[in-house]
């Protein structure tokens, strides 16, 4: 009898884990139809390097396999980082000029016909004053050469440029908040919001989120994808659960490392009548991951 109960509990936990994994790798579960291959592409899309002043970074290969002839501009731009980890370029004239003091990109423009490819030369000039690292995006901005009347388009690809100098310090940071968000009756997102309090970018190592009932068994656990967080920015690292949670109190733990810092945080929340989430002082609402 004891064995049967154990098996039942195991099945429940496994089901939750499977639901969790389904959320983490949703695209791999569905069978993708054949995508149209023509595209304007850059590779690599992220350059993470340790470099000295004046060093050339890995060239970025730009390929136009679309049937459209594009006028393409290439330039560096300073960036903000959003909570979901994406970069947004800073487009004020002063900021664009500042980016050109950090990185040089050649060529600066080119008409790219169908099948055209080129290698962008990216040179790290220097970090900003009193800094040991520089952050920007290599912007590839394409406009169709022939623009007809009506609604047209412009394409922008952002390649991340993350450069530390050899004497840059190690990253350090902390978990600023634990967060929970109900996305639907049977869909939850759990996040640890990591604040990079250091002077260089970094990636959380061994980050793990664990959800359990208060004083009870583990309901779910998972390892969020360890994407980069820039200095001075915050980023949400989360897992999703595609399963309803019974009423009760829950504890969400996060553990991991970030450079020299050990990450450890705990948040508490409740699921109340109507399957609604009620957060406490230790957990907040909203999750960008």
């Amino acid at each position: 009898m004891r064995a049967r109960v154990g098996a039942g509990l195991l099945a429940l936990t496994t089901g939750l884990a499977a639901a969790l994994q389904a959320g983490a790798a949703l695209s791999s579960v569905r069978s993708p139809p054949a995508l149209p291959t023509p595209s304007l592409t850059i590779t690599p899309s992220i350059i993470d390097a340790i470099a000295v002043r004046g060093a050339f970074l890995t060239p970025i290969r730009v390929v136009n396999s679309t049937p459209v002839v594009f006028k393409v501009r290439f330039y560096p731009a300073l960036v903000h980082q959003k909570l979901d980890g994406s970069l947004v370029i800073r487009e004020r004239r002063r900021e664009l000029a500042a980016a050109k003091k950090l990185f040089a990109i050649r060529p600066t423009s080119r008409e790219m016909t169908t099948g055209a490819a080129l290698a962008l030369q990216v040179r790290f000039l220097r970090p900003p004053p009193r800094r040991r690292a520089a952050y920007a995006a290599a912007v590839v901005e394409a406009t169709p050469s022939v623009i007809g009347p009506g609604t047209s388009y412009r394409l922008r690809l952002l390649g991340a440029l993350l450069v530390r100098t050899p004497r840059a310090p190690a990253p350090h940071g902390r978990i600023a908040s634990m967060r929970v968000m109900q996305l639907g009756p049977r869909r939850f997102a759990f996040c640890a919001r990591l604040a990079n309090t250091g002077r260089v970018h970094g990636y959380p190592g061994g980050l793990r989120l664990q959800l359990r009932r208060k004083g009870g068994a583990v309901v779910a656990s998972g390892a969020p994808r360890p994407g980069v967080v820039l200095p001075g920015y915050r980023r949400d690292y989360g897992i999703r659960l595609f399963h309803s949670l019974p009423r009760g109190e829950y504890v969400l733990d996060a553990t991991g490392r970030f450079g020299r810092s050990t990450l450890r945080a705990r948040g508490r929340f409740s699921v109340i009548r109507g399957k609604r989430v009620r957060v406490s002082r230790t957990a907040r609402l909203g999750c960008a991951a």
Binding site: T43, G85, S86, P149, L158, R225
Partner: protein, 168 residues
């Protein structure tokens, strides 16, 4: 079947396999593998022509955006025009309104998982969609045109949507 008999049958099958193997095909193997590079790409289905474009109507149009990516991405859209962002401007013809009163509405729906969005186009970048790997996003546009808007037959109104994709 006794275990000893079963074992001798297996030995005979193995010996026959060795005898039928071509000379030189035995020892070496050549592993072949490839490591995926970080790649980011984008393409759109082309300019969009809105149909039903007349006063008192809601003009609509659709297209697709393809994001090719080997990692998570976020797709944003904005209107780069600084004078009247989000609004279709007269690009051909004379007379009538120089710009539409209402901003262009949009929806973005990824077809391979991920998260879509909807909103009204403006000069500020908005998140249209996000996902983990390559995806095809259906994009719909809708333009509400007031019944008293001064539109002249044959004139063309348009704007340029800027699509920006970045890795996360």
């Amino acid at each position: 079947m006794k275990p000893l008999v079963k074992l001798s049958i297996l030995a005979a099958v193995a010996a026959a396999a060795v005898l039928t193997m071509p000379a030189g095909a035995g020892a070496d193997s050549q592993p072949v593998s490839g490591t995926v590079l970080s790649l980011l790409g984008i393409s759109v289905s082309g300019p969009v022509a809105l149909t039903n474009f007349a006063p008192g109507q809601t003009a609509t149009g659709s297209g697709t955006v393809t994001v090719t990516s080997t990692g998570p991405w976020v797709l944003r859209l904005a209107d780069g025009d600084t004078t009247n962002p989000g609004h279709l401007l007269r690009t051909a013809g004379t007379g009538g309104a120089s710009a539409l009163a209402q901003a262009l509405g949009w929806t973005a729906t990824p077809t391979l998982g991920g998260t879509g969005g909807s909103g009204t186009l403006s000069g500020t970048t908005q998140v249209a969609a996000s996902g983990t790997l390559s995806n095809l996003i259906n994009v719909g546009y809708s333009q509400t045109i007031g019944a008293t808007e001064q539109l002249q037959s044959g004139n063309v109104y348009g704007l340029t949507v800027t699509w920006t994709v970045s890795s996360t």
